[in-house]
Amino acid sequence: MATLAGCAGPRSTLDPAGPAASTIATLWWVLLVGAALLFLLVMVLFVIVMMRPGWARKVSPARWIVLGGLVLPAIVLTPLVVYALMTGERLLPRSADNPLRIEAEAEQWHWNFTYPSAGGVKTEGVLHLPAGRPIDVVVTSLDVIHAFWIPRLAGKIDAIPGHANVLRIEADQPGTYEGLCNEFCGKGHSGMRFDVIVHPAAAYDAALVAPDLAGRIAR
């Protein structure tokens, strides 16, 4: 699906590169098909009542309202809500997966990342991840509200001063991805982005302590 023309792009949620984004992209295609069918249904009904009033008059008003207003939503919404709940539960940060922990700190208008697993190495504007391993990003802010988002990997979570939110992300393949701030945070909002560099899992620990680590903040 993701390779459909026009869906690719460095920030496309429809071109997923991780399990969370992939799950949500599938959810989207399901939603799209359902919505398109419902839209067609209503518009066909509208055309029929306008063009063929005699035909449509055979259905009593009460039946119209019960079928369209109660039965139809019940049939559509009940499984949808259950599916959504189960999907959401699967995307939550569960400690059973033994995730790697990285701290993300937003400040007008840049991102700092701390890697406790590598003895507290810090980077600015570049997030380093291992491929194929679940990661919990602990997101907070030092000033106003920002939001942490890597569209191709997962959904977003707000960075709120005084709060620490946890987002589960994972990248399937090594490579470079785009991350950005997704909550309006003032004049620098449009440019508040970061690079995500995904390393092969085996090379990750070494990369973090290498002297030429991209974005490294000297201590």
């Binding site: 496309s12 949500i24 509208f46 309202i65 207003g69 959904g155 977003k156 005084g162 909550e183």
Partner: protein
């Protein structure tokens, strides 16, 4: 309609013209500058709508500016500061200065006519509401020209909107200007609710009320409940900005999420507040265009009441990414999905109506089609966004921008223009030319879908909202350019509609009666409507959306209904029983007056001096405003008893001044419901901070004096007792003065104690949110006790002048009700402040 009326038997032939002349003389608004004194609902309704359209044009231009900026990547058209002001003001203007006032204008203009009465209950309040709206809107617009417009987004999230990160005047303009306009919205909401419930044509029980009345009633109650949380939030945030109180600052025990809860507690119902009146227009027009009665009248009423309730329980779906536990989100997610049910009920009721009839393809119908297609898309994307995991990706992207433009731009613009074409013959007495109407529709329709449909896609491709520029990603660039082109096509369409409407107003063919074969009361009057609306009021014996306009209109014009004669030069209309619609009181309405204008100018002065941080002057202007309200109250009503007066068809009722529950009573009841919502929001705020905010517990723990607190509560109880005694004595024809004085004294004691308690609060309000919320609770008490004093002052002065007396007791009744409310909320407030140390001690258990 053949019963004799009280004064003279059946009116003689030619009486219609004479009655018209007499009524016009009584109800007219003077020429020239005297127009500023207008209080008539037709005039004010049109003013609201025309002003709202002017703001729509301004907001539209701002929207176009954003489309110019975003048409190409790395655009240098606007700098980021300007862009932030432009998109903030686009949203703020469209929602607060266009959508809400437009629905108010429609309500003011149409509701009395559709319900078969001559005006709204509080014409001077309508005028005051209009001026507040105009002045507040002007302040916001002028700030844009001065380059100091709000720039923090229409949602004003803290801490970005705090004085640390937005030190300039910009955020103050938003908080004060929008609150100013909201005062207007609240006054209108109370007025719509009271008028719909108590002022209808005699015999129009609630189950005979046209569905439009139900929509307006439900909308009004939603406004009464939805606006207070935002007003409270704005007051708290402004006091944080101006005086350093800590409510939202996480470093001082506040929480930015409190603002979001208060904002969306308003913001989500607001969507339905805007949509429901438009649905009301559709439910009124569609049956007429189809030539059959509305299908599912009762189902629709149940649906909109259900919708109103649900809309208050799903605000959290705007906050799916703030870190609330997933199971809690699931609850709000399911709620947001279920909201589709009442909406689907309405949609299929309209389809059923069309199916039963022989719908005509005309210009309003074309816009109904436009509504159906955009609204269904908006509704479906709404369900998508209610799905939590999908929202995690789509939240704050252009997908959301697309969604809500379908819902509140498409689902407002299309019904609104349909309504304009439908009701303009009523306003102007002319039918449309229609030469431009059809191409204008297609330009709007194509332009709208081109602009906003593509935004879904660019959002999914990862484009966030509120960015002023973007890198040259191939997919984004192409889609944004097309969106901008669509925007300009849509704008040309809107411009053509304006030209078309002007052509209709200037050159349309004159008509004398209903061009649609409608069946509601607004067409059973001379077209365009006279200032008195109905020469006499109809008696309703069946559902009032099945009126035979052709036979009823001439009967009413001849004065064959209720109040078909003039008396004492009074502007008369009838008040009815809330549910049964039986006539209960003769309501005498006030004449044109400049007082609303002066009061609004004083209010505007208070707002402007606050903006200029001249706080002593603000206090003075607030005092002037309060004084003008007292002055307005002094001359209201009548100065003697009239007993039962004949109102036609053999019915006699008392004048409203001699009733226990005139419209003013219900207005205060509904105002207190709004006020109670504000108080509840404040208590919610305190408990929310206690449970969830960072940096709790505070270093210092409050230690409020128990003795003083008890004195305060006792003083409030005493005030309530004395006010009650005063009323009993007045009704028993004894002098109530002593008890009024005692009640006032007790209120003064309560205010004094509250001030002392505020002065002693630990931690200081500027040090920690705990102190700030405690101070807010006690200030609430003191302020309400102060307003209680004004009520007592009005009652005293009116007793002295003879306008109040043993049979005209409303002033003391209002005072008593207000003081009762003050005593209850005041005791709760003091009790909460006393409980704070215990609450803080409990914090040890916080996870």
């Amino acid at each position: 309609m053949t019963d004799a009326i009280d004064q003279g038997a059946t009116p003689p032939a030619g009486s219609a013209l004479r009655l018209h002349r007499e009524l016009s003389e009584i109800w007219r608004t003077g020429p020239g500058l005297q127009r500023l004194a207008a209080v008539n609902h037709s005039i004010l309704g049109i003013r609201f709508m025309v002003t709202a359209l002017a703001f729509f044009a301004i907001g539209g231009v701002l929207g176009m500016l954003t489309r110019v900026q975003l048409a190409t990547p790395m655009s240098a058209f606007m700098d980021v500061g300007t862009y932030n002001q432009v998109f903030t003001m686009h949203g703020s203007i469209m929602l607060f200065l266009f959508a809400i006032p437009m629905l108010e204008g429609i309500a003011v203009y149409l509701t009395p006519k559709i319900l078969g009465t001559r005006d709204f209950a509080f014409p001077r309040l309508t005028a005051y509401g209009y001026w507040c709206y105009l002045f507040g809107g002007t302040i916001l617009t002028v700030s844009l020209l001065a380059g100091v417009a709000p720039d923090g987004g229409w949602f004003m999230y803290t801490p970005l909107s705090s004085n640390v990160y937005t030190p300039g005047i910009n955020a103050d303009v938003w908080l004060l200007g929008v609150t100013f306009v909201e005062i207007s919205a609240l006054t209108l909401a109370v007025e719509i609710a009271v008028s719909t419930l108590t002022m209808r044509a005699p015999g129009m029980s609630l189950d005979r009320m046209p569905v439009f009345g139900w929509y307006m009633l439900v909308t009004a109650f939603m406004m009464i409940l939805a606006f207070p949380p935002l007003i409270l939030g704005s007051i708290l945030l402004e006091s944080e900005r101006a005086f350093g109180f800590a409510f939202f600052d996480p470093t001082r025990g506040g929480d930015p999420l409190l603002w979001q809860h208060l904002f969306w507690l308003f913001g989500h119902p607001d969507v339905y507040i805007i949509f429901l009146p438009m649905a009301g227009l559709l439910s009124t027009m569609i049956p007429v265009l189809a030539g059959v009665p509305l299908a599912g009248y009762r189902a629709i009423i149940v649906a909109i009441i259900g919708l109103a309730f649900m809309s208050f329980g799903i605000w959290v779906h705007h906050m799916f990414t703030v870190g609330i536990p997933h199971l809690a989100l699931a609850f709000f997610s399911a709620g947001s999905a279920i909201v589709a049910v009442p909406t689907a009920v309405q949609l299929f009721a309209w389809l059923a109506t069309l199916a039963q009839g022989r719908p005509r393809w005309n210009v309003p119908m074309l816009y109904v089609f436009g509504f159906f297609s955009t609204f269904v898309i908006g509704g479906l994307t709404g369900v998508m966004l209610a799905i939590v995991p999908f929202d995690w990706q789509a939240h704050d992207t252009y997908f959301v921008v697309a969604h809500f433009h379908y819902v509140i731009a498409g689902a407002v613009a299309f019904p609104l223009i349909a309504g304009l074409y439908y009701w303009l013959p009523l306003l102007t007495g002319r039918v449309a030319v229609y030469r431009l109407s059809v191409p204008a529709f297609w330009l709007i329709y194509i332009g709208f879908n081109l602009t906003f449909f593509l935004m879904h896609l660019v959002g999914l491709l990862g484009m966030p909202r509120r960015i002023n520029t973007y890198p040259d990603f191939e997919s984004w660039t192409f889609l944004n350019m097309l969106s901008s082109v669509g925007g300009f096509i849509m704008t040309i369409g809107f411009a053509l509609v304006v030209v078309d409407l002007i052509a209709q107003i200037r050159y349309g063919r004159r008509i004398r009666r209903d061009p649609w074969h409608a069946a509601t009361l607004e067409w059973a009057m001379p077209i365009p409507p006279a200032p008195y609306a109905f020469a006499s009021l109809p008696h309703i014996e069946a559902r009032a959306d099945r009126i035979n306009v052709g036979t009823l209109a001439p009967q009413l014009a001849r004065g064959e209904g209720y109040l078909g004669a003039t008396r004492n030069g009074w502007q008369e209309t009838l008040g009815v029983h809330m549910t049964s619609g039986a006539p209960e009181q003769l309501i005498v309405l006030p004449r044109p007056t400049y007082l609303p204008l002066w009061t609004a100018i004083a209010t505007a002065a208070a707002v402007l001096t606050m903006l200029a941080k001249l706080y002593p002057l603000t206090l003075a202007m607030a005092a002037v405003t309060a004084g003008l309200f007292v002055f307005a109250a002094l001359n209201a009503g009548l100065d003697r008893d009239h007993g039962l007066l004949p109102v036609g068809r053999g019915v006699s009722v008392p004048v409203h001044t001699e009733c226990a529950h005139p419209p003013a009573w219900w207005a205060l009841v509904f105002t207190l419901i709004a006020d109670g919502t504000l108080f509840t929001s404040l208590v919610f705020g305190l408990l929310f901070l206690w449970v969830a905010a960072p940096n709790w517990p505070p270093v210092a723990v409050p230690d409020t004096g128990l003795a003083l607190s008890l004195v305060c509560i006792l003083a409030l109880a005493a005030a309530a007792f004395f006010a009650r005694r005063a009323l009993v004595r007045l009704v028993g024809r004894q002098a109530p003065r002593l008890f009024i004085a005692l009640a006032a004294l007790a209120l003064l004691v309560a205010i004094g104690v509250a001030v002392v308690l505020i002065g002693g609060i630990v931690p200081r309000p500027s040090d920690h949110a705990l102190g700030a919320t405690a101070a807010a609770l006690l200030t609430f008490l003191a302020l309400h006790a102060g307003i209680g004093l004004l009520f007592l002052l009005v009652a005293t002065l009116r007793l002295a002048s003879g306008r109040a007396g043993p049979t005209r007791t409303i002033d003391l009744r209002l005072a008593r009700l207000w003081i009762d409310y003050t005593a209850i909320t005041g005791a709760l407030a003091v009790g909460l402040v006393l409980a704070l140390p215990a609450l803080v001690a409990l914090l040890g258990m916080r996870p």
